[in-house]
Amino acid sequence: MFQALRDTLPSNRWIRALLLIIVVGIVLTPWLFEGTRALDTAARLSIFIVLAASYDLLLGYTGVVSFAHALFFGIGAYSVAIAFDQFAPGFGVMAMAILAGLSVSLVVAFVMGLVSLRVKTIFYAMITLAVASAATVLVSQFYHLTGGEDGLTYRLPRVLTPAFRPFDDPLFGVRLTGKLFNFYTVIFVAILLFLLMVRIVASPFGRVLKALRENDFRAEAIGYNTLVYRTTATLLSAAFATLAGVLMAIWLRYTGPDSVLSLDIMIDVLLMVVIGGMGTLYGAIIGATVLLLAQMYLQTLMGSTQDVLGGWPILANLFDPNRWLLWLGLLFIASVYFFPQGIVGRFSHPRATEAEAEVRT
């Protein structure tokens, strides 16, 4: 594992420090920040990091453009939601739901791949977009199962809910409830999934994915069956997205089209990967952090800025919290303009490369 991390971590010290701060910040959120909003942000962030990283596996590493990634996220979330809605909440039911969700995702990804991965770019993108929109229609059509536009609210196993309080005494000022246990389950699984992806991109297989992105004609000519590799990448990426969806369903105790399936989510994920840096994996961490923090706190930040600027009406008007989308848009444009390869891509070369260069001289 350490070898894989060494091979893939960005070499830039500042980027590394930033990554460390984000990860430590997420893990220690209950102790560092007050309130449920911070806890919610941290949990969502860790889930979106997995989702964005799994999308990077496809977009950044393999060079496959898909707009169906949120679909797999949704399949994971809905499989848990429907199971808990239909059956008594328990870990057995959860395990079955996860297996079912993974199977559905893999079948959908496989069929989509078979139909259209032979042609790499625009046609595949269109097919995935069509399938993704069809899925949102299906969800609202089968409302008795899915809850339609309202979504599903359901009960979790008791140990994962705030009602579960095994200890009376708080630990360093934080109450140890089922909510906290839920939080750390999500964080732990998210970290595990991310490390798995690190392992994959550092493997010989990961190397082949980059070759497909760079020149699939050449990859084919040296003996890699590009269709098989591309399909495998699609399946892997779909599986990780599904598991991220499972985490989302467990964390929110609610699953609806807007929280896991909408095109907005797809666009968010795309932006996270692009802002963070395609084909870096770690870019997902930074991209997701930037985007999520902006979405959650930009309005608040603008509100306080407006108060400070009270004396200058024109400026104050500019920072009206209702204009936050405008500022978010400007933020994207600026980030893509200044960091076309993404933040991580801009500042890094894999460390292994440097080490070898030293050996050679």
Partner: protein, 262 residues
């Protein structure tokens, strides 16, 4: 030459392809045996590259067949043919431009070893792959540039890497498509010496598309002439160069005079 008595490594039988109405390769039957360098010559647009594409599977034929060790490879994908021992170096360089020179070669070596479907092991721990790559970098004289993205190499460097990929793949059949095209006079010999070395090490079946007659004379055991998609001559270099039909189709004044000199 031993082409009469041994089973050819590679054979094309009535191989043809047309693009719309244009017959780019027409009924080409030809056998290639081990330890032979066959130069394939012909004017621009004669169908040489297309002939290679049909053999290595980049293009499906409209008629005819390709036999590798006597077995038909009809319907095989390019990757399967590469794994079976049909290697290509392309006329238009085909590299992984944003990956380092070393990574370009690592990909090929790991393909040869069949490591592509390992998900778990760190790629950097494949020490045999790295050792092979180190050796290859020396051979193509790019050891100093190992960490440079392939796309940033000079034209000559990229052509050397293109040949290096062939070396790394180490296939039984090597198809070089104008390996020295666009190289400067002092760069070309590196590549030609590499091919010469491969030839002397033996065991390979080499097909070489080349325009320069001095190169052909020094490297080739045999010349095959394509013209407008058809095979119009096949034989020892001196014989072929002397043939009237060949001169008319392709070789032109310069070669005739060169042939006369030798």
């Amino acid at each position: 030459m031993s082409s009469q008595n041994s089973v050819p490594v590679l054979e094309t039988v009535g191989l043809s392809v047309h693009f719309g109405g244009h017959q780019a390769v027409q009924d080409v039957s030809c056998r290639f045996v081990r330890d032979t360098v066959t130069a394939i010559v012909g004017p621009n647009g004669a169908g040489k590259t297309t002939y290679f594409n049909l053999i290595s599977g980049q293009l499906p034929q409209t008629a005819g067949d390709v036999l590798l060790d006597g077995q038909s490879v009809r319907g095989w994908s390019a990757s399967k043919r590469a794994r079976a021992g049909l290697g290509r170096a392309f006329q238009l360089t085909q590299l992984f431009p944003r990956l380092s020179v070393a990574d370009n070669l690592r990909l090929v070596v790991q393909a040869r070893h069949g490591h592509g479907f390992r998900f778990w092991q760190p790629a950097s721990s494949l020490t045999q792959v790295d050792a092979d790559v180190e050796h290859l970098l020396q051979r193509i004289d790019l050891a100093e540039r190992a960490q440079v993205p392939a796309g940033q190499l000079s034209h000559g460097g990229q052509r050397r890497l293109e040949v290096g990929i062939m070396l790394a793949l180490d296939p039984a059949v090597m198809m070089f498509d104008e390996p020295t095209a666009g190289m400067s006079a002092d760069e070309a010999p590196v590549v030609l010496e590499l091919i010469q070395t491969i030839r002397q090490e033996g065991g390979k079946t080499i097909l070489l598309v080349e325009h320069k007659m001095d190169v052909i004379r020094s490297l080739a055991d045999r010349i095959v002439v394509l013209d407008q998609g058809q095979l119009i001559a096949d034989g020892k270099p001196a014989e072929v160069m002397a043939m009237a039909s060949v001169r008319q189709a392709y070789l032109g004044e310069s070669v005739v005079t060169e042939a006369a000199k030798s």
